[in-house]
């Protein structure tokens, strides 16, 4: 499983150094949106990169009916969340005749989902609202910040649903449970931003599921029939991906007992499995030229540790 060819390693390197830059922009843009902050200079928002376009990706902000969600809707539009996401996705080589539609909307439930090739990806205004309500008011004993919890929760669900979209559009073979596979896609992407972003997002992704899992009582057997894992399984999977991707940065997960010693030794291998799957099944669908263009826009990437610039 771990036998990557030199070509694969170069390709992964490209992904790490190039696409990640764009991903980071999307992360920061979304973070800014969620927190009502501007995280990048105006010149960056004003800049556009015509080369990083993709006519097969369509975005739409759907106006919410409930006034409660109107501030989120306005912030999404103002911060151009979907435009940033579209740029991040622009290196994807979509099959002829396929359009990837991404719609931000009020859904009537805390959810987001891939609705198939015709309808596309729905990102619900309810989700960031929910993430803010679950997030800690102050930094937790485990080091999870409010910003990290909100950001991680939002990004994990966005990239989780994007994972479903990729599996469908590219007809990627999924031997395991697809819901876990989509979590792996999300965790893998979040781990590719570099240490700073991984530290800010992966603990937040795990935090959400920890909170949901710990608030549940024991499940009756039929609850386990759901195709999604138990929230605590999902939390441990995110912790394991973080530790597997970067044991040095996330060593405290093991030292502090967040990640049991029985699971931790397996995490590096689990992460290699995910990376190998990504390289074999996703990377062939990423345009290398656009990847290089993405690389050329490294100046977009905010320095790690940058403080938000109040508008």
């Amino acid at each position: 499983m771990s036998g990557n060819t030199p070509h694969m390693n170069r390709a992964v390197g490209l992904f790490s150094q190039g696409l990640v830059s764009v991903l980071a922009i999307a992360v920061l843009a979304i973070a800014a949106t969620l927190l009502g902050l501007a995280l990048w200079p105006d010149r960056l928002a004003a800049q556009s990169a015509p080369a990083l376009t993709n006519d097969q990706i369509e975005i739409l902000y759907s106006e919410p009916n409930a006034s409660y969600f109107r501030p989120i809707y306005e912030r999404y539009k103002k911060r151009q969340v979907l435009e940033q996401l579209k740029e991040f996705l622009s290196p994807l080589v979509l099959p002829p005749g396929i359009t990837l539609r991404i719609t931000a909307k009020e859904c009537g439930a805390v959810n987001s989902w891939w609705s198939g090739r015709a309808s596309g990806l729905f990102l619900c205004y309810e989700w960031p609202d929910f993430a803010e309500r679950v997030a800690p008011l102050d930094i937790t004993g485990d080091g999870v910040t409010r910003e990290g919890a909100v950001l991680g929760a939002f990004l994990q669900v966005t990239f989780h649903e994007l994972g479903h979209a990729m599996f469908d559009i590219y007809e990627i073979p999924v031997f395991g449970r697809e819901e876990d596979a989509a979590d792996q896609m999300a965790g893998f992407i979040l781990s590719q931003f570099g240490r700073g972003v991984a530290r800010r997002t992966l603990p937040g992704a795990a935090y959400l599921w920890q909170q949901l899992g710990n608030s549940d009582g024991p499940w009756r057997r039929d609850a386990f029939s759901d195709e999604h894992g138990h929230p605590l399984q999902r939390a441990y999977n995110y912790l394991c991906m973080a530790y597997g991707a970067d044991p040095e940065t996330f060593r405290h997960y093991v030292d502090d007992g967040l990640l049991p010693k029985d699971r931790a030794p397996n995490c590096a291998r689990e992460f290699r499995q995910i990376r190998a799957a990504f390289v074999q099944t996703m990377l062939p669908h990423i345009d290398p030229v656009k990847l290089r263009l993405v690389q050329s826009r490294n100046d977009w990437l905010m320095p790690e540790g940058s403080e938000p610039i109040p508008k």
Partner: protein, 291 residues
């Protein structure tokens, strides 16, 4: 491929199933090496003797003949001094005597000459659970050796491939195997809390539903009694030994995705001529199997 399962079932049922020398010589996978390791604990000696006499591993090697493996894999039955031993990359496929003992004990909860509400006999439980563990471990090895891209957790993927292979037996045998395999997980009384959920394997309840879902997804008519709406209790109470409708509705797509994964990644490594020859054998099971 489907005959691998017949062979394994044969072993679990206690059938001799000896191959003719000619057939055994023609259809052997030289990349599969086998070993029965004599257990130090005398408790497991009857299991060792029985499995060895039944030539379980020889049958497995025979039926893996169509699978082109680029390197050798050792398959052993061994005392693990632990309830189970997962496959590790590069390392042998191991079925533990302890595990076989456990599945026999769980099967013994079903009274002799009786069946569960879902129709599982003691013999089905033994056969199904044994075939499941052998195929699940072998599936892990196949993923590793063939460098199959794996999305989702590896242990779940191995469960799904094992379930998929069980279905290749044809309806009557597939029902016995999948129903029996599901029973093994159904019968577990383990309660999961807290850090239990960090396990790389799914909960027994999840694995129970997954096996039923694979069957129902493949053939909704044949396995309609695996679903709640078809199997309400006599007093109309909710049953916990069948699939809830909400999950059942998704099973056909789950199965289609599983079949696509198999066809696109593993099938290219299967020799079709050898597969035909293996499939020509029909007499794998006997009436007294599993007693």
């Amino acid at each position: 491929m489907r005959h691998i399962l017949f062979a394994l079932a044969c072993v679990a049922f206690g059938v001799g199933g000896a191959l003719t020398p000619a057939a055994a010589q023609e259809l052997q996978n030289s990349q599969v090496e086998i070993a029965y390791v004599e257990p130090a604990n005398a408790t497991y000696r009857p299991i060792y003797e029985r499995l060895r006499a039944r030539q379980v591993l020889e049958e497995l090697r025979f039926f893996l003949a169509p699978l082109r493996l680029p390197r050798k894999v050792l398959v052993t039955i061994d005392q693990c001094d632990a309830p189970d031993r997962a496959y590790r990359p590069g390392g042998p496929v191991t079925v533990c005597y302890e595990y076989v003992q456990q599945l026999r004990e769980l099967a013994a909860k079903i009274p002799a000459d009786s069946k569960t509400q879902r129709g599982v006999s003691r013999g089905d439980a033994i056969v199904g659970a044994f075939v499941q563990v052998v195929l699940q471990r072998m599936s892990s090895a196949v993923f590793d050796i063939l460098d199959i891209p794996l999305w989702g957790r590896e242990q779940d993927a191995a469960d799904k491939l094992a379930g998929f292979l069980m279905l290749q037996f044809g309806t009557p045998t597939a029902r016995k195997l999948l129903n029996g395999a599901a029973y093994f997980f159904e019968a577990s009384d383990r309660t999961w809390t807290g850090s239990d959920f960090s396990d790389t394997r799914g909960t027994e309840a999840q694995r129970f539903y997954n096996y039923l879902c694979i069957a129902y997804g493949e053939d909704r008519r044949t396995f309609s009694d695996f679903v709640e709406s078809q199997g309400m209790g006599r007093r109309g109470e909710q049953r916990l030994d069948v699939l809830p409708e909400a999950r059942a509705a998704r099973c056909p797509k789950e199965y289609a995705d599983l079949k696509w994964a198999f066809d696109s990644t593993i099938m290219p490594n299967v020799d079709q001529d050898l597969l035909e020859k293996v499939m020509a054998r029909k007499d794998w099971l006997r009436a007294d199997d599993g007693r």
